[in-house]
């Protein structure tokens, strides 16, 4: 790979993230609603609100607030939460692992299941298995995750009593070691499956299409001519077929976060998604901006990694 290309791509990361921060800062501050009203609750007096606005710098012109914020971010200071008085960076950092755990599990599960289903469907296009999986994939893609979450909650957690209903741990017990780990896995299973469900559909369709197209390639015909088993031929084809999946990985990370917001609310999973909703309702600007900063940074970095990975996996691709 051309090192200049790598440097250029790396250089784009801070520029992109800075642009996102500026845009979100302006949009959030222009949106109607006053954080002080949400913070102070009922019955406050005018002087109190004025004091609070001054305290949080909200009485200054927007460009001044923006410049101050960018300066602080450059020094690693994301500001102080209006509602808790704690550093926004700490709040976001505390909630990030839960969301990463949920999203990464869902990503892995959806990728494995989707590729397996896409492979079954793509090996014999038009057969009943293919049709069934395609219809299933469309249904899965069209099902809103909050609704699926409610269904799963009522049937699998409440009805069948297979999973806990809410939270990341059992509230009644203070477990440690392997017991604690298993407890988290048990609480994670259902929300991760629900979050994975809609993404399975996308992965299935991409894997299926990729496999069918790869099957038309000369190297596949050559492999068959060499007398390789159908299983080994499929493995050859999959290597090419999976490239588009890697391409869309960056976008899927963003989608997973959006899905996680709803799933975390239904299952009371203490992650960033729920923090985002609460912060939006109270107009807690520093925390909101901190979340957008972290998520956009994640998406940009994943996009960079997938671009580089793509070139590594497919040596025919050359970057200029």
């Amino acid at each position: 790979m051309d090192p200049r290309y790598l440097l250029r791509r790396l250089g784009q990361v801070p520029v992109t993230v800075a642009a996102i921060v500026v845009m979100t800062f302006v949009l959030i501050h222009l949106a109607p609603g006053d954080p002080i009203l949400a913070l102070a609750g009922q019955y406050g007096d005018t002087a109190y609100y004025a004091e609070m606005r001054a305290k949080f710098g909200l009485d200054r012109p927007l460009p001044v607030q923006l410049v101050t914020y960018l300066g602080n971010v450059a020094r690693g200071d994301l500001g102080t939460s209006f509602t808790t008085g704690r550093p926004a960076a700490s709040i976001v950092a505390e909630r990030l692992p839960a969301t990463i755990l949920l999203s990464a599990t869902a990503l892995i599960v959806s990728s494995m299941v989707g590729v397996a289903m896409g492979t079954v469907a793509g090996r014999r296009p038009g057969r009943p298995a293919d049709v069934t999986l395609r219809v299933g994939a469309i249904c899965g893609y069209a099902t809103p995750s909050f609704w699926l979450a409610q269904l799963a909650l009522i049937s699998l957690a409440f009805g069948a009593d297979l999973f806990p209903i809410q939270g990341m741990t059992d509230a009644r017990r203070s477990l440690t070691g392997i017991g604690s780990l298993l407890d988290v896995v048990h609480h994670l299973a259902l929300p991760a499956l629900v979050l994975a469900a809609s993404e399975v559909a996308l992965t299935t369709r991409l894997a299926r299409t990729g496999l069918i197209e790869a099957g038309r390639g000369e190297y596949i015909r050559a492999a068959r001519a060499r007398g390789l088993s159908e299983r080994r031929v499929t493995r050859h084809a999959l290597r090419t077929a999976l490239l588009p999946l890697i391409t869309v990985l960056g976008g899927r990370v963003g989608m997973f976060f959006a899905g996680a917001v709803l799933v975390e609310i239904v299952f009371a999973w203490p992650g960033l998604g729920r923090l985002l909703l609460g912060s939006a309702q109270t107009r807690d600007y520093p925390v909101l901006l901190g979340i957008f900063l972290v998520v956009s940074l994640g998406v940009v970095v994943v996009n960079l990694v997938t671009d580089l990975l793509y070139g590594w996996l497919d040596p025919r691709i050359r970057y200029q």
Binding site: G41, Q42, A171, G271
Partner: protein
């Protein structure tokens, strides 16, 4: 290898499922007790109570905010000078007794001498003086709004006496001293710091029945029994865990399965099912840690030409079938509002005042009289109304929080039946507050106005003309009536409750004639808890002080 991984994952999930299943409480229907049996059972010591709360409190200092989320999660850690009983009457808490002198301008409280903070330091009158002067009067919006203009000095003649001196006779003080309105915080923790940024806000030290255990933001707050609590037999529980569950349906399922033991509100559509469950007990109350005695109230913007005419407001009031709001939206939780002051303040609530009752014919007659004419059953249009162009349709907007959207739908349907076109504008709370109170940009809206334990706390702000401005949840209607202002001022100085009762009756008789608001539903909440627990006080933030659970 893949097979091995698959088996390992399945085995892990299966093991946990089995493990959890053994620890879980019995499933619905398998409970050891029938309905109501535990409520009268002898308390038992020990056990953990798991409580569902709908939002993360952010911090645990109820003295610097009126946020319901913070008060719900933290009031068990603190005390007020007084408590309020189920009838809303003051009872001793940190103060054992009190004297009222100078015709209500001086209150002297005698404090308990056996109270210690959770860190072992003794509680004294200096803590009370500090809490009011440095914290409550600066940061607790309600205490600041009500006391800052009339409180003269707070003196501490000795460690166990505190005196509040007012610039004038001040009647409602005793109802403003419970843990919701005036929680007492420790001087030795907060002195010399910014109370809003003190680390103790997330590692609190109080005097309450439970001490702080841990706080995992967004997930749960653990409280542990305060073995040195001044009410020597209490509490019974070893621990209370507040679990943050934002989705109401999830919270209820968790209660039904026994993952949580107590929830603060049962959603209306589930009320019947919950009440019929042998594993769950319920109670209705008008009080919440965030506010009490709330009335769902429709405000009219009197500055709008259409609504400035009292006959139009009265017509709208007559067009509303309030029983349907109670039945269809609140699922019977509460009462059709009978007076502008909640029935939860019985001595101030006026029976028999003349609130416009549901009468569509009268509504149509009044609108015709004004000049809003209806043809062929369509929307009414102006005809010969001074200041309004002929042919202008009778159209008003209606603002509400998204959670009150169903009020809007019913208002639109009912006003549509008399030819008034209602445009719904659902707005998030911060936007709603800004639009209604700062910009005055609305025709009508609905607000849950919490009256509090005394009309001076939560009623006066709705009608007093000095409360017109950009402060949220004050006088939304822009209502001005000099006689009403005068009566409120007289009522705050009147120490005799009968005299105050008479003054508030006069106020209510005037405002039901002026109709700046329409009082829809005197609302209540339904608490629900596992029937193997008992001893709750559902009306207060100290709800679990005497609670117990049988394992």
């Amino acid at each position: 290898m893949r097979k091995l991984v698959t088996i390992a994952v399945c085995a892990a999930l299966g093991l946990v499922a089995c493990d959890q299943g053994q620890q879980r409480r019995p499933p619905p229907g398998a409970g050891p007790t029938g309905p109501g049996t535990t409520a009268t059972a002898e308390p038992v010591r020990g056990g953990t109570l798991v409580v569902g709360i709908s939002s993360d409190p952010g911090h645990l200092n109820p003295a610097i905010t009126t946020s319901g989320a913070t008060h719900t999660a933290s009031e068990l850690l603190y005390n007020g000078l007084l408590a309020l009983d189920e009838e809303g009457e003051p009872r001793p808490e940190l103060a054992t007794d009190w004297d009222v002198e100078d015709n209500g301008a001086l209150y002297r409280f005698h404090l308990r001498d056996d109270v210690t903070w959770h860190d072992g330091e003794p509680f004294t009158s200096a803590d009370v003086k500090f809490s009011f002067e440095e914290v409550l009067l600066n940061f607790h919006a309600r205490t600041r709004a009500s006391l800052s203009g009339v409180l003269d000095t707070i003196e501490t003649p000795d460690d166990h006496t505190v005196e509040f001196r007012f610039t004038q006779p001040y009647a409602p003080l005793l109802l403003q001293l419970d843990v919701t309105e005036a929680p007492i915080v420790a001087e030795h923790i907060y002195a010399g710091t910014d109370p809003q940024e003190n680390p103790a806000n997330t590692d609190p030290v109080g005097t309450g029945p439970f001490r702080f255990g841990s706080y995992t933001e967004g997930s749960e707050i653990r409280l542990e029994r305060n073995d040195d609590y001044f009410e020597r037999d209490l509490p019974f529980l070893d621990a209370v865990v507040m679990r943050v569950i934002p989705e109401r349906a999830t919270e209820l399922l968790a209660l039904e399965r026994g993952e949580v033991d107590w929830i603060w509100n049962v959603p209306g559509p589930d009320l019947e099912r919950v009440r019929n469950s042998p594993d769950i007990d319920t109670a209705q109350t008008a009080s919440n840690p965030g506010g009490s005695n709330c009335i769902m109230t429709m405000s009219f913007n009197l500055d709008r030409p259409v609504l400035g005419d009292v006959r139009v407001r009265r017509a709208i009031a007559h067009a509303l079938d309030r029983q349907r709001f109670l039945d269809q939206i609140e699922f019977g939780q509460g009462h059709v509002a009978e007076a502008p002051i909640s029935r939860g303040i019985p001595w101030a609530h006026a029976d028999g005042v003349d609130i416009p009752e549901f009468d569509r014919d009268e509504a149509a007659r009044l609108l015709d009289e004004v000049g809003w004419r209806q043809q062929d059953g369509g929307p009414r249009v102006a005809q010969g109304i001074n200041g309004i162009e002929d042919g202008t349709p009778l159209r008003i907007d209606f603002l509400a929080f998204p959670t009150f959207a169903r009020y809007g739908e019913l208002v639109r349907e009912q006003l549509g039946a008399v030819g008034i076109d209602v445009q719904l504008r659902p707005l998030e709370p911060p936007v709603f507050a800004d639009t209604v109170f700062a910009q005055d940009d609305f025709d009508t809206n609905v607000i849950s106005y919490c009256n509090g334990p005394d009309p001076e706390i939560g009623v006066r702000r709705m009608y007093d003309s000095s409360q017109i401005g950009d402060v949220p949840f004050t006088n939304a209607a822009q209502y001005r009536n000099a006689e009403v202002d005068r009566l409120f001022e007289e009522a705050v100085r009147a120490i005799d409750r009968d005299e105050r009762s008479d003054l508030y009756r006069q106020i209510q008789e005037i405002v039901v004639q002026d109709v700046p608001y329409m009082w829809l539903v005197d609302s209540r909440s339904t608490r629900a808890w596992r029937a193997d627990c008992g001893g709750f006080r559902p009306w207060t933030g100290h709800f679990a002080k005497a609670a117990f659970c049988r394992e």
